[in-house]
Amino acid sequence: MSFDDMLKDLKAREAKARAMGGPERLARREAQGVLNARSRIEAFIDPGSWVETGLLAVSSIVPEDRGKTPADGKVAGFAKVDGRMVAIASNDFTVKGASSSATNMKKVGHVKRVATERGFPLVFFGESSGARMPDNMGAKGMGTNLGHDPQQYVRTRQTPWASAVLGQCYGSSAWYTCLADFVVMRKGAILAVASPGLASFAIGQKVEAEDLGGWKLHSDISGLIDRVADTDEEALDEIRRFLSYMPSHCNEPPPRASIPAGSDEGAQRIPDILPESRKRAYDVRKIIGCLADLDSFLEFKPRFGRTAVTGLARLGGRSVGFIASNPMGKAGALDVAGCEKATRFTVLCDSFNIPLILLVDTPGFVIGIEGEKQKAPGKIINFMQALQMCTVPKLSVIMRKSYGQAYLNMGGGRNSDDVAIWPTAEVSFMDAHYATEIVSWNQQVPEERKQEIRAAMEKDSSAYGLAEIYAVQAVIAPAETRRYLIQQLEIHEMRPSGGVGEHRMAAWPTTF
């Protein structure tokens, strides 16, 4: 073969690999308004920055599949996103349902390893039917394909991982999604352990795909996803936005951004949002919107664990994570889902050197049988332990109510580096009425005696009570809060380590 012919042969092989599962399958997707594995990459990255790895890889298990498995169904490589390097694994469903087999698992392992060792984020575009068959069948199939990487599913948060659920995600596609720091799901996609077909077949449970693993299930009930998107393109935008807050790896501080004009004006509106009546609820997201740099708040899991609000934002150009109690949900009383959400978010921020801002208006934890069945004490203490192990700066603002153990969970006392309090705040162990009932429970206490007890319980619960004993560092006006937090972020910058925390929870689970 001449040199020219060799080059022609190479070009032909490359073109065949880039043609994926063929024009018919690609056209069918296009007609459905769904991008394919390669158009997703193009839509996601800076133009012209794609460097592919394993383009000519094919099936290595079933000889007849060699000509039918372009890129072996998983497109992998490196590219720039907003000028920064990322690794990408994009499942090609048109090639054997992007099922996992020996060659493509090596490709995914490679980009994962390079991203981790060289320090940049890893992004998965999930759409896979699971393990390839018959490749994985039988003792030899199992022994040949599985279990060669003892670190395959170890998440140590050295670099950020993001995952988009863009089709059927079963098996490894689901596992990698659940290991990611940020998950966006397109409506219509499915995330589950196994397909509805297998569920029907194996356990006789007739299930609809949406009921088994649709976006409503995961956004409202399981909390396994952070955001929902209507289209592939929107989902990719969400990941780009997430990455904009993140450092490339855990040993550098997050990037700084310029401060949009008008960012300082919002804080003046807080007194209009905060109701005068302590019984009136408000949406704490409005307060966050006033405190953060203009339009910089990216909320995580808005429909899951709604008693707490979590999300990334910028304050004075710095990335920060907000954890706020939301009086709109269960009066702001933290429940099991709220604790899980706050724990996971605390671990994320701590692992990537992002300071935490806690906004407090909570009457305590949700109590009762339902919560106990869901391990409420364990969830509460997971969150508490996460907060205490956290080494990034923690700033807490007590806006209104802060009661009982929730006072500690939301950063009260030395659980934050600085606690500020608004004059509207009230802090105590519990409501005086409840306290009176509890100490007189099961006893014949006359009403006059109860009134005496109650008077004793109604101690000063004002902001100034805490300020006088230096249990808070400052009493501030709501409209001053943005300025105060920006000053505190500067004071608490982690100078000795160059802005890098200790990451003591880097290997904690990604769900609780």
């Binding site: 019984k279 009136r280 609820a281 709109m328 269960k330 009066a331 009457p363």
Partner: protein, 73 residues
């Protein structure tokens, strides 16, 4: 014309209804107040438009995510 369903954030009951069907609404206008866990939960218009239908009345019990009213915009 698009119809927006306004849903309840909480389990509770309707305490006060501040607007009537046919009223024009600006985004953020208070439509009704629910009561849940001894708190007053305001229900505000997520979009501007016309309140086309009220699906609840004072003292009705409401479930989480229950549709409370419709806005045409």
């Amino acid at each position: 014309m698009a119809t927006t369903e306004v849903t309840s954030e909480v389990i509770g009951s309707v305490w006060k209804v501040e607007k009537a069907a046919g009223d024009a609404l600006a985004e953020g206008d208070l439509i009704m107040i629910l009561e849940s866990m001894k708190m007053e939960i305001p229900v505000e218009a997520p979009v501007a438009g016309t309140l086309s239908e009220l699906k609840v009345a004072p003292e009705d019990s409401v479930e989480e995510d229950q549709v409370l009213c419709l806005i045409e915009s």
